[in-house]
Symmetry: C2
Subunit: 695 residues, 2 copies
Amino acid sequence: MQRRLEYASLDPLFNPRSIAIIGASSDPTRVSGRPVQMLRDSGYRGNLYPVNSRRDSIQGLRAWPSIEAIAEPVDLALITVPAAAVEEALQQCCRMKVGAAIVFGSGYAELGEAGRAAQNRLAAAAREGRVRLLGPNCMGVFNVAARAYVTFSTVFSSGWPEPGPIGLISQSGAFASFCYSRARQQGLRLSYGVMTGNEADVDFADCLAWLAMDAQTRVIVGFMEGFANGDKLCAALEIAGRQGKPVIILKAGSSPAGVETARSHTAQMAGEDAVFEAAFRQHGAWRAKTLDELFDLAVMAATGPLPARPRAGVITVSGGAGVLISDSAWHRKVQLPALSDAAQRRLRERITFAPVHNPIDTTGLILDDATLLPDCLDALATEADVDAVVGFYAGMGTSDAAPAMLTALSAAAARHPKVRQVACVLCKPEVRNALLDAGVAVFDDPDRAIRAVEAGAAIAAQLGGTADSLAVPSAIPFTTAPLPLNEAQALAGVAAVGVPAVPVTVVHDADAAVEAADAIGYPVVLKILSSGLPHKSDSGGVALSLRTAQQVRSAFQAMMPPINPKLAGVVIEGVVVAPMLQGIELIVGLHRDAVFGWVIMIGSGGVHAELLGDRVLRLAPVTLTQAHEMIQGLRIWPLLQGARGRPPADIDALARTLSLLSRLRPEAAVSGIEINPLIVQVEGQGVHAVDCLIA
Amino acid sequence: MQRRLEYASLDPLFNPRSIAIIGASSDPTRVSGRPVQMLRDSGYRGNLYPVNSRRDSIQGLRAWPSIEAIAEPVDLALITVPAAAVEEALQQCCRMKVGAAIVFGSGYAELGEAGRAAQNRLAAAAREGRVRLLGPNCMGVFNVAARAYVTFSTVFSSGWPEPGPIGLISQSGAFASFCYSRARQQGLRLSYGVMTGNEADVDFADCLAWLAMDAQTRVIVGFMEGFANGDKLCAALEIAGRQGKPVIILKAGSSPAGVETARSHTAQMAGEDAVFEAAFRQHGAWRAKTLDELFDLAVMAATGPLPARPRAGVITVSGGAGVLISDSAWHRKVQLPALSDAAQRRLRERITFAPVHNPIDTTGLILDDATLLPDCLDALATEADVDAVVGFYAGMGTSDAAPAMLTALSAAAARHPKVRQVACVLCKPEVRNALLDAGVAVFDDPDRAIRAVEAGAAIAAQLGGTADSLAVPSAIPFTTAPLPLNEAQALAGVAAVGVPAVPVTVVHDADAAVEAADAIGYPVVLKILSSGLPHKSDSGGVALSLRTAQQVRSAFQAMMPPINPKLAGVVIEGVVVAPMLQGIELIVGLHRDAVFGWVIMIGSGGVHAELLGDRVLRLAPVTLTQAHEMIQGLRIWPLLQGARGRPPADIDALARTLSLLSRLRPEAAVSGIEINPLIVQVEGQGVHAVDCLIA
């Protein structure tokens, strides 16, 4: 792939004025014949040049013997010749100054080293000839407005789509076809679809940047298996962020099993999944966990404004649904603020049989009183300080009540453009589409409606926050003594650049240990110093909470061989004496990711914390604000704030240390720095690195 | 409601041979006219008696002036008269020995005390007259096979349904209509639907038991807001379990917000949500968290066999989908076992371009080679030891390939009746329905397909395990000294019935504390003894890890007033001296639930544990086997097993104590017993209650 974004040169790929199909077949059921048929029948208005040396016409169109025989300029060449002839065809494209070329054929990097070499030759030829290359092993591209269907997917056999605001990028062709069909079933309309396959040249990031700059595309949805160039991907996401366009990505490989499956079939580099997720979040993109979520958020982002905050008014025609929606909102942290007293009083004159809260339960009365729905929608939009109104309208979209519902919701969407209308309702397709056109997001499960509000508000906040995330703190060069370092040396290394560390004294006999403890003040900790020993406490190499000189002396003796047989044969560099600090144990670390470079991590420490799986990652460096956000994202955040009457921890000091650590740029030999534990004391008493590993 | 299950008498309600509509209207758009129209037009073959004293005919049917004028016996009377006349109409039904009556009208218990009194009068009259009463404030019942639509729901205006295997019970009428419509959209068919409303007599449990005994109904799905009589509900669930019928319930009120919303509109008693979930699980029912889950599991349970274990073979037409499915399987603990070597070799001759694993990725080859899909399905079903085959077939159900796919999947389902076929595929409705008829479960999101396998296997295991759960351990009467008890007394109380407790000594001065500590052996713990003080550690009333006599003496002095100002004015009954035990802290408790009676709980202790929200509940008593299952359900289970080389905890002793505690039946004054912490030591060293509260 191109190392840097070069999206401007993708115009001929996405928006070709002329298309040549090299190796065009007369048989429309074949991969080399289907695009000819589609382009001929779709209404594509550019010039079309089937190239086939053995025929005068292909599917009723004049055929050219070679691309070189075409007198006019060719924007896009689709290469569908047999594998052995692909390279030569691409060379001809280069000579003819074609803008972009697509290779459908497989048998390249996804099949191993020989294939990768062939693919690299194609990439080099394209680069040298300044032809942008999509593929190989891909399913092409389509532009709905221009009716340019340069793909062998069969999904369009059920009818040509209408153009819409959603750009679709998928590394997998078959999956893209499925996505396209699901989008259509859900009433969503696309601007473009591009299936990037092996990405020898044009890749996910290039397409993302191009679609971000495209005027027709307002939302970008993607399916990704992996990506090797983190900088390039981040640059593309930033362009989308600056354009204010939501990006929603379903990324496979969220588990070891998925990564293993991917290894056997894809040419993509997997990368560490959690780092992708951090990068997406940091650059304003939303990672969808499931296909349902991808499309629910596409509905939300493509058909109307995103709610600025997760605050919703709720109206239902079923009390039971109101309870379910309240449950969902509580679990997903969507607030349901109270209606103003005045609005409650007003509505209570209409809805006499039940208290009027948020959720408002209209029961079947909504069908008898034509102004009740509009009035409730107005009351919620104006008198509850909400950014969305979620309505449960049961099966109204399939019944005689559909026109009244459509009118009321469309009017409310128009009257209150900042309050998003979300409907949980069953509809006939035409009613559903009319609702979507009016800016109403439509779902058929109450929990998915609430999730869409939650995630929609999060996307809006991410897009709003992009500017801040672009303020990059300066890097701090970090060099240490030659590796390997024992923990005392590592601790001294990070302390030298400003990370607060406990004062440690390295001793070699019990007398010195007692002397050091007396100087530090009790209680103290003793720890074996040994670069090669990973879990010192499992080997009896740690003694905590020593309160007297006598305890220090006996603990020193007890942890050394031969009294401690577990350390027999271990190279012991000394014993560390350090103060025993009270506080909350955390782990912070900086490590080098193969795709995205330096990554900063914070997690909770201790044995329960492993079960919590409590860690937050970001691409380094992070600002102080971002560091605070990371800390607030921890599951133990309530503990840091001071749960159950405990004093709050020194969160400012923690954020400062986290941001500082994230700015360190270690020399090449270092793959990571891990401080474990970092003890956070109560407010005003700071944080202290107690142990450190520099690998 | 009836206190005990009396489901046999519901035959006239569910399967009426004759129906009278008291207050029948000529206007089919009215609540009192719609059932007449539906019963007239549906093809219902029983006798129909519109009752209206002011007309000779109603909607073309002969009308009767009163129910007493009808000469033939009436199975079911629908009462649609105005509120003031309902009681008299019900009395007439009693006199005429009608089998069952339905009251649609609202304004009863859901509106407060006066309404509740009126409802109680209806219930008493029905009980006395031996008429089963559905409602009030309900939407009636329908029997699809008999075409008996005794409801005012408008959902059937879009066409009469075909009968199917799913019985639907809902306390909410509007929500039931929505569920019915969604079921139909998803291709699911119902046997009966019943909407129980206020449940003055016939309730959720009665209907559940009746449907469990009904031959047409194979699966029961329910929507519940609350239920007051736990014993009755459990009895009904047990009948369904013994009949081997899956029960899937969407229960609202899983959050404080939901409970609050419910309070304002429902006549149901909410009960403690977590106890409902425990009761469902214990009696073989599955609690669905969302409507999607309810219907996905209904698809799974109603259209074919449930997979015995969560083990699946996977076949995909898209490598990317294979990765997503592997991810889902990993997160949801569905195993994807390897294909046998022989099968791998055989398929590798056909699928040459990629390694053949599980998932098998056929790519587009599946469209070119008609025998590939059947062969892959056979290989997975027979050579990977799986109970389900999950296939990702993209949009095949909407394309020309649909018939081939349908044939292959139907044949595989027939050939391998114990291996469930699950398809993630987009379909035209007729293809989807044909797949469902052939026993193939159909979804359009890969993760939902995997979740259906996971939950389907769990339901199968629950149904299989019902017999064990019926073995009830004997109860142990538990009486204590008169309440309130301080913690030493409470600990002595549970120790007296066999719960292992730490030996504690109560002292009143520092000398006695030292003497006790010397006798117990160091390290020890000191704790203030005071019945009224909830969080002793927050008040400086606890000192841990005291290792010397001197430490005990100074700790004693430091925790007493006036040195400890936090305890000034607190009634101090003494100071407890106890050994300091090493181990894992748990909380176990027994409490009286208003709906289900005694409930046993185990949870993890300590401050991180609160964040884990780690607790497991069951209805008491539990067998030793069930106690082990509860322990294995804890999030800290890996810790108890011995994570990172630590020795395993004494799990057998823990299970024994949990089962023992669950068998205690305290006297009426006691609402609960909580042991916190219960320390579990390493294997062979048992468990010890360290503190106990009897409230």
